[in-house]
Subunit: 196 residues, 2 copies
């Protein structure tokens, strides 16, 4: 076994560089927009090398998805969760995963990977943490709201969610997300199980 040796001409190192470049690209453009040639150029390599490292564009994208799984979702507590999602451009890795997610939503090639990703890595773990009745529904609504807000704010850049001037909308967003989770501390316990 002669692995991690050379330093130069290491397949593994190249693969990592390509992956990093791919993550950056996919976070800023859609699946179709991202060209393998651009990714290769980012790391001063040839397209064919990208291909040999990951097999195909699909498989590279799958690797990107796998590498940007939102670990915060299953570890952070509820307030941190809301705050992280609501804050714009916060927690780069987390947001990068979200950006990749929404930017490739409509790509047929990426859709199946995203469906599995969304369900397995977003909704289900969150539902498990939430517990209570309709946990999966509430988790799904949380994710849905998160994605919706991110789309209007980061993709379409709709004014009311971008301008910090006209009243800070952070509290509104946090309240919205909290209402999905059933957090009564926000006074928006719409979905929380009725407690006596």
């Amino acid at each position: 076994m002669r692995e991690e040796k050379t330093g130069k001409r290491s397949a593994e190192a190249t693969k990592q560089k390509v992956l990093a470049a791919a993550i950056s690209r996919f976070a800023r453009a859609s699946y179709e927009e991202v060209r393998l040639r651009d990714i290769a150029a980012d790391v001063r390599l040839d397209v064919a090398l990208v291909h040999r490292a990951f097999g195909s564009k699909d498989q590279l994208f799958a690797a990107v998805i796998a590498a940007t799984s939102p670990s915060e979702l299953v570890t952070a507590d509820r307030e941190a969760l809301c705050a992280a999602f609501a804050r714009r451009n916060s927690t780069p890795c987390q947001n990068e995963g979200l950006q990749i997610f929404i930017r490739s939503l409509t790509s047929p090639l990426a859709r199946s990977a995203l469906r599995a990703h969304c369900s397995r890595d977003f909704v289900e773990p969150l539902a498990a943490r939430l517990g209570g009745p309709a946990a999966r529904q509430r988790a799904a609504l949380f994710v849905a709201s998160t994605i919706g807000v991110a789309i209007l704010r980061d993709i379409l850049e709709i004014d009311p969610l971008c301008e910090p001037a006209e009243g800070d909308c952070q509290p509104l967003i946090e309240g919205l997300l909290a209402s999905c989770l059933g957090d009564d501390r926000q006074g928006a316990d719409v979905f929380a199980p009725p407690r006596d």
Copy 2:
């Protein structure tokens, strides 16, 4: 002037047929997925004719956007608004516009048209109807939630929002949307102005 005469070989009639076919296609697939050749085949015409009728794919898409403007948004009352958005596959025209919207979110060619559409036809009219403080923010959040739910349910088809079995999630969705609008009848008046 010899307009609207022939019945056969009418440019206007052809344009309408093409537009209808395009709307149907764009509602079911993304901008890139939709091929002009398919649209032409739907109405038994040649691709070149589609091109001559609308100039380019971009312009055809713009016409589609313009033709599917959600008139309900500015006419219906609040409950109808929530119900319409929450109901799956309801109000075909309305939902068709929403489908077109989300299916082409990530297309660079469609993005500017969609940004204007979202702001001018969705958020601003709704904000005008809502009134009160942070009306535009609340309107934007309503639209964001709507889009998020539609994406998870209609595009990704995430289980918890699709299965009718595991507890009907209609009330949850309606509650979520109502909370954006600041409807205190839902007991979720998070965003409503504090009243004394």
